[in-house]
Symmetry: C2
Subunit: 333 residues, 2 copies
């Protein structure tokens, strides 16, 4: 197997550019997008004739976010692309272009890079996006950073606009990715169909551009993606908005298969598990209900309240608070 | 000293956001730029009323691009910002916004992050740019990735447009940064003024937005920044354009101080040393001379020729070829 050290920077970049070119991606058509320069110059360049530009960035580090055992390279590439797309989508925007930074140990086989780009190019095909550039550097530890630009025709959806009295909703079921991760990191092989579904949710999460667009069309103004876990991300939204929240435990849509595979933990996995890339949003009840009616599997799950900013309570129908048994994702600890 | 692990992700992001807010940066005014959302949401957002968007990204990895001994944190932050600005400037564009990814070992003291942002915020003040977001992840090895967006009012300058017969020029003297690095990695303390000048060129390189704009105004179409070394980068430009080049050794502007500090190596350091962030450009001779006349320290250094694509020869006045004794920067090897 040829390694990164053997091929060197220049030939590696040529190889990547050839792989991207061979994918024959179609350029996005939103916002009057017109690509002027892609991979190979000091910067990529494009024109837009309308809209608000958005940019986001997301990173994976080997040993922190993935291991070679638990995640095939193409799935890793897909996931990283999807994580960036999800951030763009949850702004009510459409993704356009991405730049990719590779931090590469010198003994990494080229097959790993081929696989990463294969997954990212799958993401490009699915989302109508382009890989337009990046940076390749040596590193002792493998990391990949993607930054994606997008455009929204309306005002961007923001997370600091939740108001007391707002209804809270999510665009789909939660916990599938976390359930898949728990299966992958436990002993034993996958047997039931439900287990394969959960693992697929972990490896190939699917943010949906049309869902973000439906929120904008319905008049929603406040939204963010659920990437670190429902209660963690709702707490962030509430802190940014200076409000508190009450979640009705029985209203939370739990991912298909979680109840049968993890009967005792299903609700907690749905509350804590991130990376499903559903969107959390709030608004006046009528507006939220209109949005929920247009999005399959979306559900109203609670209400914004006054109270300690960032405080989230999950309650049973009898009003009793449920203790949160699993933590969401916090990095660095 | 508080470490990254002790403060945790959320408090660290708040701390960074507070540092950025306290800097009181002025928003860019080019292209009708209008910031809608900065740090704290799923993505940053802004509007532009005119121009072509550009994006670039650049990374530093501890132990690969810097050591804590050779580079104060604030200088590292400055340099990384400057490297991105340089890529934007060499497109004939003006930088606007940047997103910052931190890959952080858990035992890193917060002072390091304070210093990094201090340097990047110095860069923001100098270049009229904003830090609008980013990502914080755990890592065993420290790395920092910045992606900068910019805008150009005219067509972007590109590196694949050099034609046989074009004159080749650079916008200023070369080798200062590499000379400073050689001083820092050798034994002994700095004594002469020239040594301090070279070290400053290494630690605080200064890409100049107005120089890129002057090239556009003069009618230049082909340009790139000198980041990996003159001969290395000229070879890349020639390969992209399918041409060769001849550089006149006596015409290369050598950084002030190099001749006195490194009398035997000065020319080779100027030919091989990167990170001075001057711009290499080509064009019809009259156009190039018009540009050179408007840019202090700019110089015509050679001519584009037919020949093996990417082949660069450095020749003395008598026509004899000079062997290149120092390599430029190639990563991964």
């Amino acid at each position: 197997m040829t390694t990164v050290r053997e091929i060197g920077e220049l030939a590696l970049i040529e190889r990547i550019a050839a792989q991207v070119a061979a994918a024959g991606l179609s350029a996005p058509t939103v916002g009057g997008f017109d690509l002027r320069l892609g991979i190979g110059d000091d910067a990529a360049a494009w024109r837009l004739s309308s809209g608000t530009e958005v940019v986001t960035t997301d990173t994976v580090v080997e040993g922190m976010h993935f291991t070679r055992q638990s995640m095939p390279w193409a799935d890793l590439g897909w996931k990283l692309w999807a994580a960036n797309v999800s951030d763009v989508v949850s702004m009510g925007a459409v993704p356009l272009t991405g730049v990719v930074t590779l931090g590469l140990p010198s003994d990494l086989p080229l097959e790993a890079i081929d696989g990463l780009y294969e997954g990212m190019l799958d993401g490009c095909r699915c989302y109508g996006t382009l890989i337009v550039g990046g940076d390749v550097v040596g590193a002792h530890e493998l990391f990949v950073t993607v930054a994606v630009n997008g455009v929204c025709e309306a005002e961007p959806l923001r997370r600091d606009a939740a108001l007391p009295g707002h209804a809270i909703a999510v665009t789909g079921s939660l916990g599938g990715s976390r359930g898949g991760l728990q299966l992958l990191t436990s002993e034993g092989t996958l047997s039931a169909t439900e287990e394969h579904v959960l693992v697929a949710a972990h490896r190939r999460p699917l943010p949906r551009v049309e869902v973000g667009q439906a929120l904008v069309a319905a008049g929603i103004r406040c939204a963010m993606d659920v990437s670190d876990g429902l209660t963690t991300d709702l707490a962030k939204m509430c802190a940014a908005s200076g409000v508190a929240a009450r979640v009705d435990a029985t209203s939370v849509p739990v991912a298909s298969g979680l109840w049968s595979v993890f009967p005792d933990q299903a609700l907690n996995i749905a509350l804590a598990g991130g990376e499903d890339y559903e969107i959390l949003f709030t608004g006046p009840r009528e507006t939220v209900e209109r949005a929920v009616a247009q999005i399959p599997h979306a559900a109203v799950i609670g209400a914004v309240t006054e109270g300690d900013p960032g405080k989230v309570r999950v309650v049973r129908p009898d009003g009793q608070e449920i203790p949160l048994e699993l933590a969401g994702w916090e990095h660095l600890r």
